[in-house]
Every structure is written in C-alpha cells, then in structure tokens.
C-alpha cells in the first residue's frame, strides 16, 4: 500500500502544527512501515494531546486510528482486548451496557487506547484507581526492527514500564488488554459545593478524596485577593439509583463548525463566565448524572478548541508534591492573578499515592492544577516562566501531554528517569516534543 502523503497535522491546542508524511496500518498484523532513510516516525492516536508530544514535524506520523477492532471481551471477568486505535468512547458503548467501565477515564472520550497508554492518563478517580497504566494487563509492542514484544508486568517488564507514559517513542502499541471495573449502572450520584477560598477548597478536596471515588474542583481564576482559589468542588460515586434523562443520543450534537477569526474566549468573556458560574451555583447541589455527562462535560460541544481562534491556546498542567502543596498552589494562583493573563478554565485535583507504572508517568502523589490560556505570545510566556519557577521550586513537574513549551531543564528535573528511558527509544521513533525537551541547554 503506497503511503507517506504529506499533510498538515495539528494537535488539540492548535499551537503546535506542521507538515508530516502520514502512514497507516491496514491491520495489526502488518509490518512496521517502510520509511525513507533518515525519516523518523511517531504513532499518532487521535490528536487530543494539547501540545507537540503527538507531533513529529518534518518527519512521519503513523495514524493509528485504522487499528480499531475489538479482539476479545470477557463480560464475566471484565477484561477487554482491543487494537490500540480504539477510542475510549467506543469501548464504553460496548462495555457499559454489560456493567463495566474502564478503570480510568480522562476528560474526553475521544482518545485512543494507545494514546491513553503513551501518556499514562489519569482521571477524576486517581486517588483511588491510580493511572490508566495500572489497569493495562498486557500489550504488544511493534518495533521498527520487526520485533513484536508481548509486554506485561511479568513479561518484558522493562519495556512495559518504558512504554506506559512512553510518549510513543518506544515503538507502536498494536493492541492492549485492559482490566475494567464493575459498576451497577450508567448513573453517577454527583454532589458539588461552593468553596469560598483556596484553604476551604483544598481542605474539602482532601476530605472528599477520603470518602468518594471521584473528585475534581473547578477554580475561579478571575477571583482576586482574599477570594483567590475560590471554586466549586465536585465529588461523585457510581449510583444504584436511576436518573431521568437518557442523554446518550442527544449528547455531542453541538459543534463549533469553523475557527472564528479571533478568540471568543478572552479576558472579558472569561470574567463574566467565571463569575456567573461561581455565583449561579447554590451552596450545595446534588444530582444524578449519566456517566458521559459526568466524565466528559467538554465533549458536549465538539471542536470547542476552535473557540480560541486561529492562534490556539495552551494548557498549563503541573503537579506539585503533597508536602507543601497548599503553599505552592497559592503562589501559582497569585502569580496568575498578578499578571494580565486570564485562564479560561482551571481545574484542580488531588492525586493519590499509588505509584504510576511508567518510567515517565506524570501522575504522582500531590496536587495537580490545569489551566487553559488563549495564546498571546510573549506576554503569556513570561507568565509561564514565573509559573515554571514556582513548580520547579516545589519539586513538581509539567504534564507532557499538555505541553508545547516547557524548558528542557524543567523536564529533566521533573522526569529524572528520562536518561534510563532513552535506552528504550526505538531507532526510528522521534517527536517534536522529545527533540525540544532533550535539546542541549
């Protein structure tokens, strides 16, 4: 099958983009694509990473979306084997009616199994379930030399650890097997409370993490002074009761059809949105939500990333160690408040102390904060530099899946295993992200 056409490919944040020659596989039995000499390649899932970790500008991408077959589903024991290009939303359509869910779900259902492994993604239940990789029981890794390695915690455990969170650099995951978790139905009992300031928010988050399976907090980034860190904390558990509206079909009908010429999310609209969102929320609200609504609120509007206009946007997601987390988060929020940049969406969550299985996994015990910013060039970068300093000072790190700009020093400090990891990189694999963060200072 002739391959390797040149295409412009962009990632979710629309900041990182560029020409790639694109290859694909017809089936999981196919060989590693034959490339021109000197050309490197990177597996590409569904492009839901925000920055350049899913890109290989000037080189090749291997589009994994054509590998989307299910292989085996054991509805009694909740194990699912499927090809790496299957998206989590598709898995849900199959396994949820049988009373199962993937143990870890990120904030969008449009990610592939291969992408979820390569970033070792986390969900709102990290404090209970750990990261995605904790529930991967085995997978096949196809290397450019033709080798196919079966990897699990027992077999080729070093390759298993390198590939989970391995940013697509160790080779191609062709299929994977997941352990699912039992649920009594598609409904979640969800409760949310308004928190006045950061102390209250962190305090209540910690408490909620002890009691509930899922927790997450929205932080009002427009708040200033004493109100800094105010927000809405949400927690949830799988419910036995049944909710009213079955939204599955009406869900996902809205879409942003094209990219508007300027960002519709700017400081004025965000101030109004943040203030309204905070005020309209009563003191405490309890509801029943369908799991799709609960896990993937942003999927309700397809292509919402286009709202940021042609210049795109950045997400800044860090984790700071549990020790001293309160002070670090306060410093981060203060730095943002003191700048003229507005974060349009800020999400905070406690990570539990389960150890992520990947050499380069991002999730680790502490508090994670994710902030979306419209791209305003140099002004924004100077804020990022201040935030970097606070994160580095706290001994934290940034999430590669969301990153398009972190300096190499911060990457190396946050991922001390990166040298060990380098030994597992496939001779033909590379990425824009990797070349950037491993560049000599």
């Amino acid at each position: 099958m002739p391959q390797g056409q040149t295409r412009l490919v962009r990632s979710w944040g629309n900041v990182a983009r560029g020409e790639h020659s694109v290859y694909s596989l017809g089936s999981r039995f196919d060989e590693f694509p034959r490339l021109p000499a000197q050309t490197s390649i990177l597996p590409f899932g569904n492009g839901r990473s925000y920055g350049d970790s899913c890109l290989n500008v000037g080189g090749a991408l291997l589009d994994m979306r054509s590998l989307d077959r299910f292989i085996q589903f054991d509805a009694r024991h909740g194990t699912l084997r499927c090809e790496a290009g299957v998206q989590l939303g598709e898995i849900l359509r199959i396994v949820a009616p049988a009373g199962w869910l993937p143990c870890v779900l990120p904030g969008t259902q449009y990610v592939t199994v291969g992408g979820a492994i390569a970033n070792d993604v986390h969900g709102k239940n990290h404090h209970r379930a750990g990261s995605f990789g904790c529930h991967v029981t085995q997978f096949e890794l196809l290397r450019s030399n033709g080798e196919r390695l079966l990897c699990s915690p027992q077999m080729n455990p070093d390759w298993f650890a390198a590939t989970i969170g391995g940013l697509g650099l160790t080779g191609v995951v062709t299929w994977a097997e997941l352990q699912l978790t039992r649920v009594s139905g598609p409904w979640m009992s969800v409760e949310s409370v308004r928190c006045r300031d950061l102390s209250e928010l962190l305090e209540m988050s910690r408490a909620a993490s002890q009691e509930h399976a899922y927790t997450v907090a929205w932080v009002d980034c427009a708040a200033r002074r004493k109100r800094i860190g105010r927000g809405i904390l949400q927690w949830a558990d799988s419910a036995d009761e049944v909710g009213e509206t079955p939204p599955a079909d009406r869900w996902c009908r809205l879409a942003v059809p094209f990219t508007p010429p300027i960002s519709l999310l700017n400081s004025a609209t965000m101030h109004v949105f943040n203030a309204l969102h905070y005020r309209r929320h009563g003191g405490r609200v309890r509801s029943m939500q369908h799991y799709r609504q609960f896990f993937f609120p942003l999927d309700g509007i397809r292509h919402w990333n286009r709202l940021y206009g042609p210049r795109g946007f950045y997400q800044y997601q860090c984790v700071v160690p549990a020790d001293g987390a309160d002070a670090s988060i306060r410093r981060l929020l203060r730095a943002i408040a003191a700048s003229s940049e507005d974060s349009c969406l800020a999400v905070l969550k406690y990570f539990g102390d389960s150890v992520s299985p990947g050499l380069l996994s991002f999730p680790r015990c502490g508090v994670t904060l994710a902030l979306d910013f419209p791209n305003r060039g140099a002004r924004l970068e100077s804020l990022f530099a201040r935030l970097d300093a606070i994160v580095a000072d706290a001994g934290g790190c940034l999430y590669p899946a969301k990153d398009a700009r972190m300096p190499p020093s911060l990457f190396r400090a946050g991922f001390p295993q990166c040298e060990t990891f380098s030994r597992f990189i496939d001779a033909r694999c590379s990425s824009s992200f990797w070349r950037r963060v491993m560049a000599e200072a």
Binding site: S27, F29, F70, I71, Q72
Partner: protein, 245 residues
C-alpha cells in the same frame, strides 16, 4: 434480525457497513481472501453486537468455488436477507495499458467475478421471494476516462448487468441495489492526494444502509455525486475526448 452475507469483507467500506449491521444485531457470514484479517474482523463484529458471525476464505476469481461458498453461507445463515458484494481492485491504468494479462485480471476481479456471483445469487433470492442484492460499483463506471478506464469499464459492466437483473428480479420482490461511491479514503486509494471531495468509509457505509432500508435502486454516495455524474455524462464525446480527466 437480518442475515447478511458479505463478499470482500476485508474492504474498508464493507467493514464499516458490517459494523452497522452488527449494531443492529444481524447475523453475518464474511467472505474474503485474507484469513487472518477476516478472522480479526469477525471477532470484532461479534463484540460489537452481531448475533452470529462466521467466515470463510475465497479468491473471487476462483469461479468454481462460488457455488459451494454460497451453499455454506446459506446453510449457516438460514436465509439471505442481504448479500453485499464489495471486493475490487483499482489497478494502475498505465500498467494495464502495457499488459493484456493485467487488464484481463482487472476485468475479471472487478466485473466477471461479480457477474459470476450474481448469476448464482439471483436464483437463490428469487426462490426466497425476498432479500437485497447490494453491489458496490462506482461512479467510474458512468463514463470512461483515460486515468482509469479499465477499472471504469469493469464497473460499467457491473452497473449495466445489475440494471437488467433489477428488472428481472423486481417481480420476485428482490431489491437489486447498485452502489456508486465517489472518492473514498480507503486502502484502495491510499496513494491519491486527498481533498474536500473525499468521503470516508463510515459515511459511505451509513449511506449503504439507508439505501437498503429505503429499497433504493441506485445510490450515489455521497448523494451529490448523482447530479455531478449526470452533468459529466451530458458532455458530448467531441468535447470530452479533449478533457484532462
């Protein structure tokens, strides 16, 4: 629950169509030449909801094996509600111009094998007094052009054959559906540069199911290809022969 036989089941368009049938809990019998790939598709369809899936391998140019394959399929499914014929090859036109062998093979795979199959499927559906015979032809069969007229003429043969067969089976209550996709991004067209005119196997598959449900005779997919091809057919040969198409 529909009983569906698919020939050329590893085709990208056929696979997407099969998934839609599986979602509707159909029973499927898959025929393709690559055993490992058709087996993988069969397992996938089972998980996606198909009531029952079986498969066998066949090279469609092996005409002598058609009858036995149809017997096994009919036996496994009980009856044939839908038969979809999807296999095809888009051989390099230039290479065909230089090789009688390649040209004959292209005509055999894309036209003769289809007609051989239809010849044996028609009486079965006719005897049942129901069912759908859906065959993927192509817009390329609507008019020969220099870039792919070997393929195009094979598809023209299929379309013309089906038009006659449709008349014959009409009174027996059998639907004969000619599917004419435009440009679809599949392995067959992997080497073509893609543009806005291109559709996806998923969209075409949804169109195929709609056309079956609505008992249509000819389905251009996406639909805009209908008027576009009507216009292209109107161009006088005098003018057409000068065009760079």
């Amino acid at each position: 629950m529909k009983k569906v036989l698919i020939i050329g089941a590893t085709s990208a368009i056929a696979e997407e169509t099969a998934r839609l049938f599986a979602q509707r809990l159909a029973s499927l019998y898959l025929v393709a030449r690559n055993e490992r790939r058709v087996a993988a598709i069969a397992s996938d369809l089972g998980i996606r909801g198909a009531t029952q899936v079986a498969y066998e391998t066949l090279d469609v140019n092996d005409f002598a094996s058609h009858a036995a394959m149809l017997d096994r399929a009919t036996e496994a499914l009980g009856k044939l509600d839908v038969v979809l014929i999807a296999h095809g090859t888009l051989d390099n036109q230039r290479a065909c111009e230089e090789s009688v062998d390649l040209t004959m093979r292209a005509l055999s795979t894309n036209a003769l094998s289809v007609i051989a199959l239809c010849t044996q499927i028609a009486p079965r559906l006719s005897a049942q007094g129901s069912g759908t015979l859906a065959v993927i032809s192509s817009v390329a069969g609507d008019r020969g052009k220099r870039s792919n007229y070997v393929y195009g003429s094979a598809k023209a043969l299929v379309s013309t054959y089906l038009s006659g067969l449709r008349q014959r089976l009409y009174s027996a209550g059998v639907q004969v559906l000619t599917i004419k996709p435009g440009l679809v991004d599949t392995p067959m067209t992997a080497s073509f540069p893609k543009g806005p005119l291109w559709s996806t196997p998923r969209r075409v598959a949804a169109g195929i199911l709609r056309a079956i449900d609505k008992k249509r005779d000819v389905a251009y997919l996406p639909r805009a290809w209908g008027p576009a091809m009507w216009f292209i057919r109107l161009i006088p040969e005098k003018v057409f022969k000068r065009l760079e198409l």
